[in-house]
Symmetry: C2
């Protein structure tokens, strides 16, 4: 499976927001994250960068 | 491997920009795409959404 972990990059340490994310969609000036288990989370942030082979998505506010 | 195909969404049909992309990084108001083979491409666009289990990254201008 090609899910990824979503991190918010703010300050020194990236902060883990959600694991096993499948879908990232824009919504209301932020992002809706949906995991492979169907869990959803909304975060007021934008996508900064992707490193898919490492299963990482980095967000910024 | 968890690479993805990058599509630009403009008009009716998403247009395939690059296959087997590993890394997407912001650069000069656009994005640098780097494939698992090391190929690189710059595109003046932003990330719109992700559907990782389907191996899709959607960009918009």
């Amino acid at each position: 499976m090609c899910e990824a972990n979503v991190y918010l990059v703010e300050g020194e340490e990236p902060k883990l927001i959600m694991e096993a994310v499948d879908t990232v969609e824009p919504e209301d000036g932020g992002l809706r994250l949906i995991s492979i288990f169907g869990d959803q989370k909304f975060i007021k942030a934008q996508i900064h960068s992707l490193s898919l082979v490492d299963h990482n998505i980095f967000l910024k506010t």
